[in-house]
């Protein structure tokens, strides 16, 4: 559970990171804004409240692991890592530029704090399953978190990994699905039906917790429930809004990826500052 102060801190951080994300996007010419905004509260709760990490020691052996399987959320992840102090946030001015450590999809060998290079959808859950197994083999107590996109769950390999996570009862793994209902070509249910989505995960052997993915209290409850679970891995289906926080981006597939001019940047900044 979050106390009022923690909740206010997380809300303020989400607001601040939305501002930074918009500025990074303005500078770099374009980014996957929609998904970076929908995943925001999940990442903020993990990085600013729950995960055991040390930005000054990104390779700390007993750190919690984080895999952004929906790798196109990388611009949001990188903005957050810069804010956390993994690297000088000024470096984000180089985002997308030739020779920069930062591109749309983050490279673990170039960006401190990134545990797996993702971007090709349908890989991250397998990697996260492997990390959780590795912790178990080594008798280590750290936890692995993985964030999937909902459209990503069209990939068959997600379900191969889901079977493995349940088969091996990986209770040291918690998965979030950023259920924003939109992939690149449209509504996920029109492109390739995912529903009944929660039932799919349940039938694959996972405990499913469905929440409002922008509500810090609910995210906190879900994480705490997942960590207390002793029988099954937990998937948190986080109902979110693509483009959350900017009215002209919310629910608009055109903002899956987009650039900002002075006018749209200023309007977006004004809106996210209001919260």
């Amino acid at each position: 559970m979050l106390d009022a102060k923690e909740k206010a801190m997380l809300q303020e951080k989400a607001k601040e990171l939305r501002e930074k994300l918009i500025q990074v996007t303005y500078n770099c010419g374009g980014s996957h804004l929609g998904g970076a905004l929908s995943q925001m509260e999940i990442l903020v709760a993990l990085y600013y409240k729950y995960m055991n990490i040390d930005p000054k020691n990104p390779e700390m052996v007993d750190r919690d692991r984080f895999v952004l399987s929906k790798g196109h959320g990388g611009v949001g992840h990188a903005t957050l890592l810069g804010d956390k102090g993994y690297f000088d946030p000024e470096l984000l001015n180089e985002f997308n530029k030739t020779g920069s450590p930062f591109g749309m999809h983050l490279d673990k060998n170039k960006v401190p704090g990134v545990d797996a290079s993702t971007g090709s959808l349908g890989h991250g859950l397998s990697i996260a399953v492997g990390m959780a197994m590795g912790a178990r083999f080594k008798g280590e107590k750290w936890h692995t978190y993985c964030v999937l996109g909902d459209g990503e769950c069209h990939e068959g390999s997600i379900w191969e990994a889901a079977m493995a996570g349940a088969h091996y009862k990986l209770t040291n793994l918690t998965v979030f699905v950023d259920r924003n209902w939109l992939s690149l070509d449209g509504n996920t249910e029109d492109v390739m039906k995912l529903e009944p989505f929660a039932d799919k995960w349940t039938s694959f052997g996972w405990r499913v917790i469905t929440i409002d993915g922008h509500d810090f209290d609910k995210i906190a409850e879900a994480i705490e429930a997942a960590k207390a679970e002793t029988e099954k891995p937990v998937v948190v289906i986080a109902e979110t809004v693509k483009g959350k926080g900017v009215s002209f981006m919310e629910g608009e597939i055109g903002w899956h990826y987009g650039g900002l001019d002075d006018q749209t940047r200023d309007k977006a900044l004004e809106e996210v500052r209001k919260g």
Partner: protein, 337 residues
């Protein structure tokens, strides 16, 4: 490249065991020496012989079911924790079904995972083309960071499995399925990743072979000797990184080169050797033996090797053809002396 050191293992009857059986034995022994080794398979533990490790160390074995792509991703995650996954499945599934996972999760991220791909080439001949794999060398060779090895027999397999453990990064070893007659007589030879082994000395022509056809190359060289042709045989057990020096020496010394591989002639050993030759600026008579951009028929492996010209008969035919090549006088060529 790491050199295989501290090799103390011997198996009295190694020359009667298949590559896969030897691999299982060696991996199990390595498991006793290194607790970081985690063995994995996809419902093929028995077929690939990685099951021998499972019997001895069940707590360090994972079966992922029939899901090769996931196995590679999981191996990447396990390697991220500092452990050393060794994964086994058939070559066709490791290199093609799971190709993008190998490329993105292992090679791009430079994860310390070893793939032992069995039933490679047409060694599972009766199973038909869905189970043959004549593309893996081409695919794996094109992935940056990947080391690609095709041992000629059980003894080399033993060396290779041990040697890749000394290399920090992804490695691919392709082996056969059944009984492959040995090329070597024992484990008593120097083995180093990236260094070809000269099995037969010769100065008229060089055969560069990899994997199971190496034995047939040696036989062809011996038969050619009876006909007065001096044939060098290079066992190119490492296809990547390729031994450029051995190829360039062969080029300058013999000016005639034939490659032999149980693989499509496009993209594998033949291509790798021809790249080195072309970049040298020196021309030579050159032929590639393998599958000529076609799928193999169903059949016993030894029959298929014969049909596609990878046995001694087929290699000898090409030797005789290449020996007919005539060269203009050129003082650059050492073979003109």
């Amino acid at each position: 490249m790491a050199k295989a050191t501290g090799l103390t293992w011997t198996v009295a009857d190694a020359d009667s065991m298949s590559q896969a059986e030897i691999y299982g034995e060696v991996l199990t022994q390595l498991g006793g020496e290194n607790e970081k080794i985690i063995a994995m398979s996809t419902d093929l533990a028995k077929s690939t012989k990685i099951g021998m490790f499972e019997k001895k160390y069940p707590e360090r074995f994972i079966n992922l079911g029939i899901a090769e792509a996931n196995m590679i991703g999981v191996a990447s995650g396990i390697a991220a924790t500092g452990l050393i996954p060794v994964v086994s499945t058939f070559a066709v599934f490791a290199s093609l079904r799971a190709a993008e996972f190998v490329r993105t999760d292992l090679c791009y991220q430079n994860r310390n995972v070893k793939i032992i791909a069995t039933h490679s080439g047409t060694s599972f001949g009766q199973a038909g083309t869905t189970h043959h794999c004549t593309e893996d060398l081409a695919v794996m060779r094109s992935f940056a960071n990947m080391v690609v090895i095709a041992p000629a027999d059980s003894f080399e397999t033993a060396h290779a499995v041990r040697a890749v453990m000394e290399h920090d990064g992804p490695c691919y070893i392709r082996i056969g399925r059944g009984f492959e007659p040995p090329v070597h007589k024992s484990l008593e030879f120097d083995y180093e990743i990236g260094k070809a082994i000269e099995l037969v000395e010769g100065n008229d022509l060089t055969i560069i072979a990899t994997g199971v056809p190496v034995l047939h190359a040696v036989e062809a060289a011996n038969r050619a000797k009876d006909q007065g042709i001096s044939v060098r045989v290079l066992d190119m057990h490492t296809v990547k990184p390729i031994d450029r020096e051995a190829i360039l020496n062969a080029l300058l010394d013999t000016r005639r080169i034939i490659t032999v591989e149980d693989h499509n002639i496009i993209g594998g050993l033949g291509s790798a050797v021809s790249e080195v030759i072309a970049e040298s600026g020196k021309a030579c008579a050159f032929r590639r033996i393998g599958f000529k951009d076609e799928y193999s028929i169903v059949g016993y492996p030894e029959d298929l090797l014969h049909r596609y010209g990878m046995d001694a008969d087929g290699i000898l035919d090409v030797i005789q053809e290449v020996m007919k090549a005539e060269f203009e006088e050129d003082e650059d060529w050492e073979d003109e002396d």
